[in-house]
Symmetry: C2
């Protein structure tokens, strides 16, 4: 008899696994089962469908040449049999049989397997709070969700997004673009928790506020009220009117089928797999959002569901199930998001994560233009680069701004994967021409500053720490070394102005017994000022990491909504 | 006496070296000498100034906050003394003295040094052909050149660019944008020789022709005619009218000063340095376009002058000259260019270079959209990825297209630096969201295909080889597996159509005794077809690398100018 390979779940990981298994072993029968009606769609594209950025929902389910990836496509092109509308009700591992329930006919059948691949995905985590089942309380996961959301996205109406993570913010933008009044409610004290450190998350938050989105951090939704449809969101005593609520508080892996069959569930709550994507049953593999993976920096198990990882794991599971040999090593937590005109992402560990994992670290905040500053369209981005102090090994990069951040993240992700040090990163032969970067790419500059810090030449202090010192009225000099014109336009309250070009002449104006913290627009002149003061014998000098551009607090002269 | 550090040449490398030396050793006197009047300018920005993309020439000489980097700036901000209009006429290594000639006053002076840094740059290589000194025969190097070029760029006039390298093509675009009729003349049989392999260079050439630029490859300019100004360019017997000629046949390092002083010149003709950027004289360093460096893949010495490398080397030379300790390891030949709406670049070795260096290699051509195909603004790019056969180690990436290529080059540059294999590259946790890439980034897809090829699953054949078989009327089947609609719109002459979805049913239409080469738009369906044919017992099957999108030859139905 021909080898029977059964794949449960026909989205990114499952569709990839099935196709790859058939290519590796054309003599096998490969069956792809899904309980839904739509298969192999780009779930990550749903917010763009809601906002009409993607016009036709079919575009999310098509190949790049416009062929819809339906059951017929899989049969004809991939040689894979697809059963949609079919629920897998159980796995009999002894008999190597999956039990099926066909929704349309209510028929119960079964299917034998030699190798089984679980690609059951994840589901939005629905907090079981008061009235969470009212109408117009939706999630963002399936094509069906997308259609419902699109119908509810009525201009002038009010939407509340519960959760300020990637999906929450993408959906906030989509609904805002449809003319809704949008509020994002996040339980943590910052947006994008687990992705960005606080000072970078504040830059994203500032942007959302500028775009008219209301942002409420540190707020826990306790329930909803309404007759049949939701009318109000409850945050303790507080009530917010809402015509539409989107629950986006993260996802949870779909493991009930695996758990019922005695498949090991890992510490993260997702299915445990080895590097071959094999579960504790040698005939059963798992891939995609339903399984956990290894974080390559910490060595810990993590559940970070992403379409990119799902495809890689699906390929490996498909090869191994079909009799080949492949491994997936793990992830480093790379995430990215575009929200309005801001790009924001990270790779590796954030400062918070690095410290939580016991690393002794140095960090740098480095804002600069994303291309040669004289090139039209150059836009600012802020990088935060993190290295282990002792070894100089790069542990993480965060990047936020209107300019290009993804390429810096991709290069850093590669560097981190290969245990690059700050010195190695600073010497990589990156592609340079004015339309793409400055002669020294932002990543090179950040690595150089990190080297200066690791060597003790540069002494930085975070904007957060400076703000604390201001608030606590510490006795120190906050020294603005920008030009009088820049200083006049925008500034930090209480700062003393001595333009960098005048500093060598005006050293007499500065007290030698006080801490001096220099800053400029991006911190490069601030660093130069620190070096000039050092050379002149001042003993307690620093520069403020990232300068004005990375300062997430209110600025004198800023006519834009900022964090209070 | 204070330590005297003298730097000759005040552009990228020299300015960086001087500033860094002063920061490292604030007690040193640092003097920066330049024979020109302008210092520390972005020479790479000159084509954009010619085209008015950059409006003010001062922008090329300013910091990102708009301060002109002149002598006053260096004195006040950097603490560095600048002498412009000053020619260094000789180096007395015994006495540790440089001899100076001040152009304005014709005064001869001298300056002692403890450490000397040579940053003398490079000059356009001027072929000594007939009448090369006529008026309006210009080069693209200095600010003075830029002004001359701008004056000569008269709409309706005719310009000939001699040299189809990076600077030649950037200048071609600039002059075309000013309304000139532009011809690019390249001695080699392709544009961008030494950067792109021929099939990718053809994609760039196609684009130039579409934009109305005349491209002549395999043509050697033998001289010029004209009274005072140039009127005609001679290519053997052929004469081309020209109101302006731009010589861009590459650059040659400025080493006469070093050579006269007995400094070692390397095999490349540039100044030889060690990893500390030190010459054979322990008191003399060199950095930037005047010196050679090590290619990290071949281990050979190379002279690849770029602003990015100059800055890295300048930093290292500055630190070492000032008494610190730093090294620069080398480059991997990364280059990039935007010309009209095409981005084109490479990192590591091209196929030509890899073979010339004795590597046994596998290659893949992989065209795809640069972001999720359903995302508005997604544009095609073609990647060519090259790996060593035995080890799978990635040796090079080339990328050409309207979409984003720089981030793929930067990630690949990083991977190559760390000796990544195709398998490792295919698993890197790159940043994914629909505005940035498909779930499987182009680089991951290319690495996966490369793995399939290295494992023998996928058997590709280059478009070049297929064209040769067509031209020589080899007896084989060229199998188009696209849809009838795609086939009807554009195609390769002589190809047989069986859409992939019909292939399993129509196997009977194909002869079993002939070679079958399948293709589609990008080669993924072509590869699927090869696998289907393999599984059906066909024994001589291949797919054509890169499909229609990477086919650089004429296409049936294409209404665009293509290579004849």
């Amino acid at each position: 008899m021909r080898m029977q390979i059964v794949v449960i779940g026909a989205n990114a990981a499952g569709a990839k696994a099935a196709s790859k298994a058939k290519r590796i072993n054309p003599k096998a029968d490969v069956t792809l089962i899904d309980r839904g009606g739509f298969i192999s769609y780009g779930a990550c594209g749903i917010p763009y469908y809601i906002s009409d950025t993607v016009a036709d929902v079919k575009d999310l389910m098509s190949t790049p040449v416009g062929v819809v990836r339906d059951a017929g496509f899989f049969k004809k092109v991939k040689g894979v049999t697809v059963k949609t509308g079919t629920e897998v009700t159980g796995i009999d591992r002894e008999a190597k049989v999956v039990n099926l329930f066909e929704t349309a006919t209510a028929e119960k059948t079964s299917l034998e397997y030699d190798r089984l691949i679980l690609a059951t995905g994840s589901s939005p985590f629905i907090p079981k709070i008061c009235n969470f089942d009212l109408q117009n309380i939706l999630t963002v996961k399936s094509i069906e969700d997308a259609e419902l959301l699109k119908n509810c996205a009525i201009s002038g109406n009010t939407a509340c997004i519960v959760g300020g993570g990637l999906i929450g913010l993408e959906t906030a933008e989509a609904l805002q673009q449809k003319g809704m009044k949008v509020t994002v409610i996040e339980m943590q004290e910052q947006l994008l928790p687990g992705i960005l450190d606080r000072e970078l998350a504040f830059l994203v938050e500032k942007q959302l506020r500028q775009q008219g989105v209301r942002v409420m951090t540190g707020c826990r939704v306790t329930g909803f009220t309404g007759k049949s449809a939701v009318e109000k969101v409850l945050i303790g005593e507080q009530e917010l009117p809402a015509d539409l609520v989107v629950l986006a508080p993260g996802v949870t892996p779909n493991v009930s089928l695996a758990r019922a069959a005695g498949i090991d569930i890992g510490i993260t709550g997702a299915i445990a797999v080895d590097a071959r994507q094999c579960t504790n049953d040698p005939y059963i593999y798992a891939c995609g959002d339903c399984c956990e993976t290894t974080h390559l920096i910490t060595g810990k198990k993590v559940h970070i569901p992403l379409g990119s990882t799902a495809n890689k794991q699906g390929r490996v599971a498909g090869i191994n199930a079909a009799g080949g040999e492949a491994t997936f090593s793990g992830v480093i937590g790379t995430s990215i998001l575009r929200v309005f005109n801001i790009n924001a992402g990270k790779t590796g560990l954030s400062e918070t994560e690095a410290r939580a994992n016991g690393f002794d670290i140095e960090t740098v905040l480095s804002p600069a233009h994303d291309k040669a500053h004289f090139f039209p369209g150059a836009k600012p981005i802020v990088l935060k680069l993190i290295a282990e102090k002792l070894t100089g090994r790069i542990l993480g990069l965060q990047a936020v701004g209107e300019g290009v951040v993804d390429k810096r993240l991709d290069a850093a992700a590669t560097a981190i994967t290969f245990h690059a040090t700050a010195d190695q990163l600073s010497q990589i032969d990156l592609a340079y021409a004015p339309p793409y970067s400055a002669a020294m790419d932002n990543l090179i500059v950040a690595a150089d500053i990190l080297k200066n810090k690791l060597a003790g030449h540069a002494r930085g202090i975070s904007p957060h720490e400076v703000k604390r010192k201001c608030d606590e009225e510490d006795d120190f000099i906050l020294l603005d070394v920008r030009s009088p014109a820049e200083h006049g336009e925008i500034g930090i309250e209480g700062a003393k102005l001595i333009p960098l070009g005048m500093l060598r002449e005006k050293l007499g104006e500065l007290p030698r017994d006080k801490e001096i913290i220099a800053f400029c627009k991006v911190s490069l002149r601030g660093y130069e000022a620190q070096k000039i003061l050092d050379a002149a014998g001042f003993e307690n000098t620093k520069f403020m990491d990232g300068g004005i551009l990375a300062w997430p607090y209110p600025l004198r002269g800023a006519n834009i909504a900022t964090k209070q």
